[in-house]
């Protein structure tokens, strides 16, 4: 028992220290994104565009697939339960609200964390172990400006965009079931969907998605920056990066749901 408490205490201590370092890195990154460009030190444009492409364009297929199938699943799941009350007509409303409020942002964030967050850690970690980040420093080029700022900015822009697409595709997946299996009228389905959805639902989803983007970007970059111990270290850091960002995303999601629920 004492052993367990000791372990818990040490882990908590370590986690808090990591959190502190991430927040300080985040502050620096925000400075280089939002303040420094107006003082004549713009974000590394080439890297920024490359990251926009990697995060946005290249994640689009997988994000769409996942949301589409999840939309189908959700429609079937709700139709199964709503059948008891003979109110299958509400499927559209349920899918629409669940996606825009919850599933769209969450699914997109998890898929992007696994894809992009991991890639960021692997790339920056490799740069760290091959002394490239040290080399930047000795060339008087700040690594936070040169490497983290473009990545963070790109994901902050792209994740909400992907989330909107995920919402649309998820609702289409639900529609497919409603049309083929339940035989609902197209117009009726969508009018039900949009009647139930409020602008607030969409906005709360997008606000969450901003925070998720910050988590993925910062955890991904931070884990890359603290890599030690060669290629093996990079592998370990990549796993840690994905696991901890997904964990943080789910905790943050829960926090926001509680916040929106009680307010």
């Amino acid at each position: 028992m004492r052993n367990f408490c000791g372990y818990l205490g040490r882990s908590l201590n370590l986690a808090l220290r990591h959190l502190g370092s991430i927040l300080s890195l985040f502050r620096q990154a925000l400075y280089w994104i939002f303040i420094a460009p107006f003082r004549g030190k713009p974000v590394n444009k080439k890297d920024f565009i490359g990251q926009l492409e990697l995060i946005g364009v290249k994640s689009l297929p997988i994000v769409s697939f996942v949301s589409f199938f999840f939309g189908i699943t959700l429609a079937m799941l709700t139709a199964y339960q709503l059948r008891i009350f003979q109110s299958e007509i509400l499927v559209g409303a349920l899918v629409g609200v669940s996606f825009s409020r919850e599933l769209g942002p969450l699914l997109t964030a998890i898929v992007v964390a696994a894809r992009v967050g991991a890639a960021m850690t692997a790339e920056l970690g490799t740069m760290k172990v091959s002394e490239e980040i040290d080399a930047l420093e000795t060339m008087a080029i700040r690594p936070v400006r040169f490497l983290i700022a473009p990545r963070l900015l790109a994901i902050l822009i792209m994740l909400p965009c992907l989330t909107i697409i995920a919402n649309i595709v998820g609702i289409l997946g639900g529609y497919l079931i409603a049309k083929l299996s339940l035989g609902l009228d197209t117009y009726y389905y969508f009018s039900q969907t949009f009647k139930a959805m409020e602008a607030k639902d969409l906005f709360t989803g997008l606000i969450k998605s901003f925070f998720f983007a910050g988590i993925i970007g910062m955890v991904g970059c931070y884990q890359g920056f603290i890599v030690r111990g060669g290629a093996e270290g990079v592998g370990r850091a990549t796993t840690t990066s994905v696991v901890s960002s997904i964990f943080l995303i789910i905790v943050t999601d829960c926090f926001f749901n509680a916040l929106f629920y009680f307010i």
């Binding site: 490799t126 740069m127 091959s130 002394e131 490239e132 040290d134 080399a135 420093e137 000795t138 060339m139 008087a140 080029i141 700040r142």
Partner: protein, 282 residues
């Protein structure tokens, strides 16, 4: 004799000392890596820091470029103490440095030409055409004309190192730091790099600090050699003086001999303690 007096006078003159290290101490995990280092590196000269693996020479180099801050002591570069400098002033100083990493540390996502151009694009407001010409000049300097558009993954380790040298020289630095410049190079290329280091010092008055364990290059390029052993500088002198030194450690290192104070054999008793953990045989 007269020569040595003049020499020493030159060293104490602040205008001739580019870098002054005073009482530098650094420990990692309670192990003293650098133990009270004092060193004066002269302007326009080549200073070699030599020593076996793990003697702290790379750590010392990292202190000189401001990557690590010491536990105590001072490092004066061009009269300014870098150990107490903030990042902005340190960056301004770093623009006047060049650093060649052991592995080269090229950016793999950029072509050879882009690697060399990076410091120019970041720190000098120059037209692209001018940058392109400078890149070609620097690549010619290291004998890699025509490799501009290749990527680091497409060239050999020795070439990477030469590209890294071209990058280190891109901004015409006043001081260049080299971490094992000859490691991984064939003898001819190594000699060419050595000649370049000498040319830069003699003709352009560039201060060079070279960390290496290779005796041959060290003696051929050095104006002065500092030998590091267990975190201390045991000798700091010209190449000829080092060769004539009576210090046993120095002599063993120069001769590359397996027997001597650097590799002291343990007695049978000591070894037994290591093996069994028992201090006395009962």
């Amino acid at each position: 004799m007269l020569c040595s007096i003049l020499f020493n006078k030159g060293v104490s003159d602040p205008y001739h000392a580019m870098i002054i290290v005073k009482n530098l101490v650094k420990s990692f995990d309670n192990r003293k890596i650098l133990d009270n280092i004092n060193l004066k590196i002269e302007k326009g000269k080549i200073t070699v820091i030599m020593g076996g693996s793990g003697c702290g020479k790379s750590t010392l180099l990292r202190h000189l470029i401001g990557s690590i801050r010491p536990d105590s002591g001072e490092i004066l570069i061009a009269g300014e103490d870098i150990t107490k400098m903030d990042e902005d002033s340190l960056d301004n100083l770093r623009k006047r440095f060049g650093m060649l990493y052991q592995s080269g540390a090229l950016f793999n996502s950029m072509s050879v030409g882009e690697n060399v151009a990076l410091p120019l694009r970041e720190h000098a407001k120059l037209d692209n055409k001018i940058i392109e010409i400078i890149v070609k000049m620097k690549l010619e300097l290291v004998g890699l004309t025509g490799f501009k558009d290749l990527f680091p993954s497409q060239i050999s380790g020795g070439m990477k190192k030469r590209v890294a040298l071209a990058r280190a020289l891109a901004l015409d630095p006043e001081v260049v730091f080299y971490d094992e410049p000859g490691a991984g190079l064939d003898p001819v290329t190594r000699a060419a790099i050595d000649k370049l280091i000498i040319d830069l010092s003699k003709k352009l008055n560039i201060t060079s600090v070279v960390v290496t364990h290779e005796m041959k290059s060290a003696f051929s390029i050095a104006n002065k050699i500092a030998m590091l052993h267990e975190g201390k500088i045991i000798i700091y002198d010209s190449a000829t003086e080092i060769k004539n030194s009576q210090n046993e450690v120095v002599q063993q290192f120069i001769a590359g001999s397996p027997e001597g104070p650097l590799t002291r054999r343990r007695t049978g008793k000591e070894y037994l303690v290591t093996l069994t953990g028992v201090s006395k045989h009962r």
